[in-house]
Amino acid sequence: MHSAELIPHLFRTEYRKIVSVLCRRFGFQKIEVTEDIASDTFLTAVQSWGIEGTPPNPAGWLYQVAKNKAKNHLHRHAILEEKILPEIKSEMHSDENEIDLSPQNISDSQLQMMFAVCHPAVSTESQIGLALRILCGFGIEEIADAFQTNKDTINKRLLRAKEKLRAKKIAIELPATTEIEARLEPVLTTIYLLFNEGYYSISKNKNLRKELCLEAMRLCTMLIENEPTNKPQVNALLSLMCFHASRFDARMNEQDELVIYEEQDTALWNVDLISKGGYFLQRSASGNTLSRYHLEAGIAYWHTQKADSAEKWKGILQNYDLLLQIRYSPVAALNRTYALSKVYGNETAIREAERLGLTENHFYYLLLGELYKEIDPKQALENLEKAFALAKTETETQAIRKKIATISHLH
């Protein structure tokens, strides 16, 4: 790989390691310093590799430079350090200038950082922002793009989140074994949101979106590789993301437009990811935990079977039945009703759909339009018109217009 491509790639994978290790070493109080050192390291790499060529062990080179920069920082701030040193000395390791960039310490630091960033003290939105910045090495502009907002907003949001973590004196450490289950919850939520940000984002940047999904899967894999956090729900989440990601290339066409499930070319589905999803789904089936991720992975599994079968829709319906008992959401309620129509027929589904009363939601009318299509085209059109009026994006209005045209044409 040429250094021009290699550096952005390394930034994605190594930035978080450097920040995590340094931050764990210096404490959250110095998060900005560690971010500066890490960014500075990459700047040095750009300058030096451009002239001298890429070193044989690029990651090792980065660690060495980061280490030196960190030591210089410690040295430069010796006087300042002396004033606050007595306070933090006890927490420091034997050799205060030693920066440990061993694989073990890198992996430990990243995991601990994940739990610190996803601390309940920080708002969910900020957790994702921080995770993107610190754990995924995303630029402020990329984060702004992913959130469809501007750099200023993101900068402010990140600043506030860091202040909060400092003020609350959040330690960079793994939670105690007894707390792991509870603390995992927001970590998994952040990872899943990160994934969804990539999967469903309205951002036009396809590569960025894919990168978000892959980062989420990488973070989840780190939790699985660490025994205390290798819990059934973590495996279920990874399984779920694998199943979804398997369709990544099929659900976008050349013009970056969304291709609906029914029209996807299954040849573009990634079979490796599907079987990986199956593997982690199996691994998630230990113990008594039945999390939302188990159920969503179950649904996602059935969607990897393109052919319609009674078994498929019964399976999907059962999973939605249980999912709604754990966690209600309008989307799940609507999807369940669609599955219900596949199992019990449209009449039954219409009866249940009309009780949902999600009259602010254009997907509600889309569903009714779909259910009425065969039975009562006039009703179908009326519902689709309502959906059209409520639709929020250009892609959605286009899709609805197409449906309306098809039905009007047929009748």
Binding site: Q325, Y328, E352, R355, L356
Partner: protein
Amino acid sequence: MEEYIVFMRLDLITKDAQPSPEQMQVYMKQYQDWVGGIAALNKFAGGKGLSTEGKVVTYGDVVTDGPFVELKESIAGFIIIKAESLEEATELASACPILKGPGNSVEVRKISQVHPN
């Protein structure tokens, strides 16, 4: 929105009335589809199925096996639902699939708060 408890009563003692494992699977699916429908309305607040194992303690410290010594209608489980009125709760409960079996019943009761949360 108030909470209502729905007790499901079935015959758990008559041997012939007991479903085969295959039937049981079908019943469980129907049951989950019913509860799923209530949950889809965001009106499900919890529930438990009950094992057939149990004891009954009556006046005079008499302990007998089984919660259903002389009753053909034992409580098989319960769910708690949210509803605007007893009428609405009853309507939701009346779709319970156990009511397809003769002799079975559901009992809908409004929950009143007597214990601290």
